[in-house]
Amino acid sequence: MQGYKKYFTKKLVWFLITFIVAVTLNFILPRLMPADPVSAITGKLAAGNADAKAVQKIYDRYAEEFGTNKPMWQQYLLFIKNMFKGDFGTSFSQYPRSVSDIISSAIWWTICLQLPAILVGWILGNVLGALAAYLRKGWDKVLLPITIFLSNVPAFGMAVTMLVLFAIKLKIAPVAGGYAFDQIPNFSWPFIKSVITHYQLPFWSIVIISIGGQAIGMRSMSIYELNADYVKYARFLGVKDRKIVGYVFRNAMLPQITGLALSIGTMIGGALVAEIIFSYPGLGSTMYAAVTAADYPLISATTLIITIMVLVVTLLLDIIYGFIDPRVKAAQFDS
């Protein structure tokens, strides 16, 4: 454990730097634009209101709330301070709910949907990819093009197709939402049952999407490893096939973990859009509602939370990678 200290410290420092950059971008990008967000909001709210004094009052009120009447660096400090307090202001579209209240109720739906789905898709994809590389014949001619085709269906496309097929045509799954309309969230059996039935379609649509890409990547990696010298050497020594496949699988998996860490942002982005199709009560639908209603504080907070989620997952994957990769282990114990 002691040996890992350097590796983990490095990863943690890296995480903190990226975090600061991400937060800064989240702060600065909207403010870099020529249009003043406060005046845009005021314009929308005060549409049709001819009273200049009232419009000015609305403007001042929001300028105060966002702190846009202060110099940039003070705004930034205020932004950081509020962020750590979990205070993202008040939502425009769902007034008087606070943004942090909306997000804290949406975030668990997204986490509970996407993490298991992406993980299951990743595992299934890797097993299939490794099998394909090992079997080779037959797979490449037929199954590979099919897999490439399936992996190219956009996440929202798969969501719509599954929704129409299973919920509307076959009527074996609910059409929309995270639970039935007549339920109130609580820990009773009917509610949990309702949540599980509503969970199926979004879950499987994400799983199917992620299987394809992972399987293709794993197949390439495994073929590369199967042709490596150590495999040939092991074969000459008469090592059992099963054991060789084990080694190959482990070695081919390492780049796959890095690949997952690098692509998790894109995957979550796609899955968030798929949430909209199912009206799943997660961050994706929240974001959609916020964009539709031009709810600026909510958009800003949602993007920030999604970024933080992706960063944390990437950090976790880096830590797991450190435990699995023998090279990291060796490097730590050498020094």
């Binding site: 950059v21 634009m33 590979l144 390439s220 982005g269 993007t303 970024t307």
Partner: protein, 415 residues
């Protein structure tokens, strides 16, 4: 170059992918010639007309008729007029007044109708039926009584006197050749929520989306290539700085940056080109990483060192000694950028952050409109399914080309 192309042509995956893509491009170029006009023209007043050929009923009345005796014409007419719901309520009524309906199946319209005609008496309301139900039955009977009449009469109404004059008799066996009807319109994919021809719109949207993908791909590849070359070739502090930036932007989801920038630009400034450039600006990191690692492996090759010793300039070394070696990787990365650019546009549009447009549709916008008008829950498959299929096919063909190239340039992956 010629040799590379020849090799590529031997890869079945590359050929299939390129074939599909060229087909899509050809459709995009040729279809507007066959069916010219504004793709966003609203030809339908209603929403979501089904796919098929429409002919003008107005003109059909003036078209020469032929008398055709077709055996099951009557039968077809019956089944289409009496809906399943009608049949259920008819059987319900017959059962209530004590007619034996145990042997009657729902498909047997003739028998149901015959039993109804024999047993329904408008003047005598049976006991045990509410007034409301009885009224419904009477309306149904009214409608049913019209069935079986040999002909229908078309009247002309004089707008000034209000007088009706008989214009034409239409017989049950009158047929019109659809080719002789003056005005017909074929809508292979129906119309969308605004009453626009979906196929025409789709072809135009496909073109715009591919253009968006190309612009995004060019921007991303240019930035990625520049950063990758600089970082890989210069090394040292330049490498550190560039890789720091690249790593940070790899981890921060480009999807989020895309949303933030698109939202901040505002609805008014967000044209298709701007969206394309923004997508390019947020997706260059992959190219930069792979170009850098390639350049590092090339940097100390003999021919590069020779160039350096000969005193060639940095630009010349990069252009003549490094770029040709990584060209295949850059092309492959570019293809993937195009495909992901098209997808990014679609996702942005679904969120409501797509290009603002009143003149050109994009695939994402078409999807967005279909979802906004609940085409998927109402069964209007033609409004969204062709869009999904088009996005998938474009992305599939590009990725297939990429896989094929990968196998050609990377011998360990070959079969």
């Amino acid at each position: 170059m010629k040799n590379t192309l020849k090799q590529l042509m031997h890869s079945s995956k590359f050929v299939l992918g390129a074939g599909i893509f060229v087909l899509i491009l050809l459709t995009m170029l040729i279809y507007p010639l066959i069916n010219p006009g504004n793709p966003l023209e609203m030809i339908g007043v209603g929403t979501f007309a089904k796919p098929g050929t429409y002919f003008s009923l107005y003109d059909a009345m003036d078209t020469k008729t032929e008398t055709l005796k077709i055996a099951d014409a009557e039968e077809n007419r019956l089944t289409s007029i009496i809906s399943m719901e009608d049949r259920v309520s008819m059987i319900e009524f017959l059962d209530k007044i004590g007619v034996d309906v145990s042997g009657v199946t729902m498909d047997d319209v003739d028998t149901i109708l015959a039993l109804w005609k024999a047993n329904f008496d408008e003047s005598a309301k049976p006991k045990g039926i509410t007034n409301a139900k009885w009224r419904n039955y009477k309306t149904l009977n009214n409608r049913l009584s019209r069935i079986g009449k040999e002909e229908r009469i078309v009247y002309d109404l004089d707008p000034e006197t209000g007088e009706e004059s008989k214009l034409k008799m239409i017989d049950g066996t009158d047929y019109v050749n659809i080719k002789e009807v003056v005005n017909t319109k074929t809508l292979p994919l129906g119309t969308d929520n605004f009453g626009r021809d979906v196929l025409k719109e789709l072809v135009s949207a496909c073109g715009t989306s591919i253009l968006i993908g190309l612009v995004a791909g060019v921007v991303a590849t240019f930035i990625g290539l520049l950063f990758g070359l600089l970082a890989g070739y210069l090394g040292g502090i330049a490498d550190d700085i560039i890789m720091f930036v690249t790593n940070v932007f790899t981890v921060i989801p480009s999807f989020v940056l895309l949303i933030l920038i698109s939202y901040s630009i505002g609805q008014e400034q967000r044209g298709a080109t701007v969206v394309a450039i923004v997508i390019g600006l947020t997706s260059w990191t992959w190219t930069a990483r792979s170009v850098r690692s390639q350049v590092i492996s090339l940097r100390n090759r003999d021919h590069v060192n020779l160039s350096k010793l000969s005193g060639h300039s940095l630009v010349r070394i990069v252009l003549t000694d490094i770029l040709p070696y990584i060209a295949s990787y850059v092309v492959m990365a570019f293809i993937l950028q195009v495909s992901s650019g098209i997808l990014s546009e679609a996702q942005l549009s679904l969120l409501g952050l797509g290009p603002k447009t009143t003149t050109t549709p994009t695939l994402g916008l078409m999807m967005n409109w279909a979802m906004l008008y609940a085409a998927h829950t109402n069964g209007y498959w033609w409004a969204y399914f062709p869009v999904i299929l088009t996005i998938t096919l474009i992305s599939f063909s590009l990725n297939l080309m990429n896989t094929g190239m990968d196998q050609v340039f990377n011998p360990t992956l070959r079969d």
